[in-house]
């Protein structure tokens, strides 16, 4: 049985949960999982992988595709080649994976969200998940993958024994590309297009006095408030919060629409959200056709109940 080399993603001391998806596909494909990680105090369940390769280097080196590629080449030269090199399909994952593939001339398939063991077939999204392409490699060589977050984490299971650990020397920084600093995105005003979680309010919330109560809920949920055109027209919310064709187009992870019936001008501005949850009194409201989850009910009642539960729990 060959092994899969997993390039872990760590951010400011945290071992990211999306690494589990990379571990999961290695298991699913029947490969031993070797985890490459910078030296440091990361919280990892060592039973989930077969080997942990610690690299004597700083975290920021794991953000540099040139350095990582150098490191992986070194590992591949000094020991048996992995059958797969797995990254998460993230900003840095795709950067490193594609660079490595080009440097070594290896096949690459990105954004994997499904796998069929019989035939070694990988499913990748096309056209924002409207269809999936099923891919195979055609060359006997290590395969480079990036895996979609949330797709395989259930297959990252405890193997019942602690992984073997080794430490390797890191590579030093290079002139071609160097890390300067982490930057928190500037927060000048609110940019609802950047929010991961929007709590969006519509006419169905009733009147302006209800808004502060939703703001409290948003705070509890760590959500950002947005709204539909009528709510902005009435000046219950400022213009910068408006979603829709005459406002902003948003694609958050979660779009929780409360009291929004879903005029198509509004739908156009939010339909590509990863997960849409709609709360509306009217079971026939068009928004339910676009939502992944729905509750037929009064937005204000649901709001109060949510607050109760969160504060109570």
């Amino acid at each position: 049985m060959g092994y899969a080399l997993i390039i872990s993603e760590v951010r400011r001391g945290v071992f990211e949960e999306r690494n589990l998806d990379a571990i999961g596909i290695a298991n699913l494909a029947g490969k031993d999982a070797y985890l490459l990680i910078p030296e440091g105090n990361y919280n990892i369940n060592g039973n989930m992988v077969d080997k942990i390769i610690k690299v004597k280097t700083e975290e920021s080196m794991f953000l540099n595709p040139l350095i990582i590629t150098g490191l992986i080449t070194k590992i591949m030269d000094s020991s048996a080649s992995p059958e797969m090199v797995i990254f998460t399909h993230s900003s840095s994952g795709i950067e490193m994976a594609s660079y490595l593939a080009g440097k070594m001339g290896l096949p690459i398939i990105t954004d994997i969200s499904g796998y069929e063991k019989n035939g070694d077939i990988f499913f990748k999204s096309y056209y924002s998940d409207k269809v999936f392409g099923q891919f195979k490699k055609t060359k006997e060589s290590p395969l480079i993958l990036t895996v979609r977050s949330g797709s395989f984490k259930d297959f990252a299971t405890d193997k019942g024994k602690q992984a073997e650990e080794t430490t390797v020397e890191g590579l030093s920084g290079i002139e071609e590309r160097s890390f300067i600093e982490y930057v928190e995105e500037e927060k000048t005003g609110v940019d609802i297009t950047k929010a991961e979680f929007l709590l969006s309010l519509g006419r169905g919330v009733g009147n302006k006095d209800e808004i502060p109560k939703f703001e409290e809920l948003a705070q509890l949920l760590k959500a950002t408030i947005s709204g539909s055109r009528p709510v902005v027209d009435k000046q219950w919310l400022p213009k910068e919060r408006q979603v829709g064709t005459s406002g902003k187009t948003v694609k958050p992870k979660v779009y929780l629409a409360m009291g929004i019936s879903g005029a198509f001008q509004h739908i156009a501005g939010m339909k590509d959200s990863e997960c849409i949850i709609a709360v509306n009194k009217d079971p026939e409201a068009p928004i339910f056709q676009y939502a992944h989850y729905g509750i037929v009910g009064d937005a204000n009642k649901i709001r109060d109940k949510l607050k109760d539960i969160i504060q109570g729990g």
Binding site: Q235, K239, Q242, T245, S246, A263, F264, Q265, A268, P286
Partner: protein
């Protein structure tokens, strides 16, 4: 550039009649007389300013010197468009129209989907005898609220035994709003595509469902040798000829709102009123500002696609309030943009907005 202009800013005497009739005057920073002034002297114009105009045309109609301030707005917008410097929402509407031939970017392939709501088949124009085209309009094709309008009108025409056909997914946006946004190149492309279809299928008459489409097809496509009508003109004739009979009574108090593109711009005041007055029990109420001076709903000139910066009381609200004072229970009109802008405010105040065809369907 001034040579080619349709507007005549140099002859303006700054009398202010334009501003006096402008639906944006006073409540927003928009001042059409001032803009004409600035244009006369080639002074810089704040870039947000031209986007307030709703293209209602009141200024041009009222102008004693034929300055055509509404054409001037198109010229200003046009140079902003050419510089690529336009509000994002407008930009999206234009790019959508470029790709999918409608401002919302809905699939062109679904433009004909509304016919599925009918229990009879509407033929493609090529299969008809009289070559009468029902020209749909993007709003009617895609907006779930307004999709009922073509369904109604098709049923009414069918009931009267009046043959018509459609272009289905071959129809593209008429370009009325696109021209008013100032994207003249795109307007030309849309016009050429539609005209080519009209020619290919030998269209002899066009029944436009939206006053906006009717306006541009009739007045801006050049002489096509095709008679262009609004559907209310056709229906009022069918009623007169006894081919359509409103038999039931309409129990609610009704008031009619003149759409700018139907009324003041194309002088179609009587036909909608005739249709409505023909209904048993209807004593049509009138707004204090009706017919030529009807208050614009603010849905035209690209305003359906984007919001201006200023927050102010919308004309639709003023309109709904007056309807309420006059004791109306239902506001009726014959334009999809008016339906959408008025309905938003009417619903809040417990009034209904019904498009004229919706009223007819209730009584026939």
């Amino acid at each position: 550039m001034q040579d080619e202009a349709a507007s005549r800013v140099l002859v303006c005497i700054q009398c202010g009649k334009c501003t006096g009739g402008c639906p944006e005057s006073g409540r927003t920073p928009f001042n059409i007389r001032m803009l004409v002034r600035k244009r006369q002297f080639n002074y810089a114009i704040d870039e947000s300013m031209p986007w307030y105009c709703t293209a209602c045309n009141a200024c041009t109609i009222r102008c004693p010197r034929d300055v055509k301030p509404s054409e001037m707005i198109i010229e200003i917008r046009s140079s902003l468009v050419e510089n690529g410097d336009i509000p994002l929402a407008i930009q999206k509407a234009l790019e959508n129209t470029f790709v999918q031939k409608n401002p919302w970017g809905k699939p062109r392939s679904k433009r004909g989907e509304w016919v599925e709501k009918l229990d009879f088949k509407v033929p493609h124009i090529s299969e008809t005898k009289h070559k009468r085209l029902l020209f749909l309009c993007c709003v009617h094709a895609y907006d779930p609220r307004c999709m009922i309008i073509p369904v109604n009108v098709a049923q009414l025409l069918n009931k009267a035994g009046y043959e018509f056909g459609i272009l289905g997914e071959e129809e593209c946006c008429c370009g009325n709003e696109i021209r008013r946004i100032g994207e003249l190149g795109l307007f030309e492309e849309l016009m050429e595509e539609n005209k080519a279809n009209f020619k290919e299928y030998g269209v002899e008459e066009i029944i436009a469902l939206s006053p906006h489409c009717m306006n541009t097809l009739k007045n801006e496509y050049g002489d096509m040798g095709i008679k262009v009508m609004h559907y209310t003109e056709v229906l009022s004739n069918l009623i007169k000829e006894g081919l359509l009979k409103p038999e039931k009574t309409f129990e609610k108090e009704l008031i009619y709102h003149d759409p700018c593109f139907l009324g003041k711009q194309n002088k179609i005041f009587e036909q909608p009123r005739e249709i409505l007055n023909n209904i048993n029990n209807v004593k049509l109420k009138e707004f204090s500002r009706s017919r030529e001076i009807s208050l614009c709903c603010e849905g035209g000139g690209g305003r359906m696609f984007f919001e201006v910066e200023a927050q102010y009381k919308r004309n639709s609200e003023t309109r709904v309030e007056e309807a309420q004072e006059k004791g109306a229970e239902v506001i009726t009109t014959a334009c999809p943009f008016c339906v959408m802008t008025l309905e938003e405010k009417a619903v809040e105040k417990g009034l209904a907005v019904k498009e004229l065809s919706e009223i007819l369907m209730e009584v026939i």
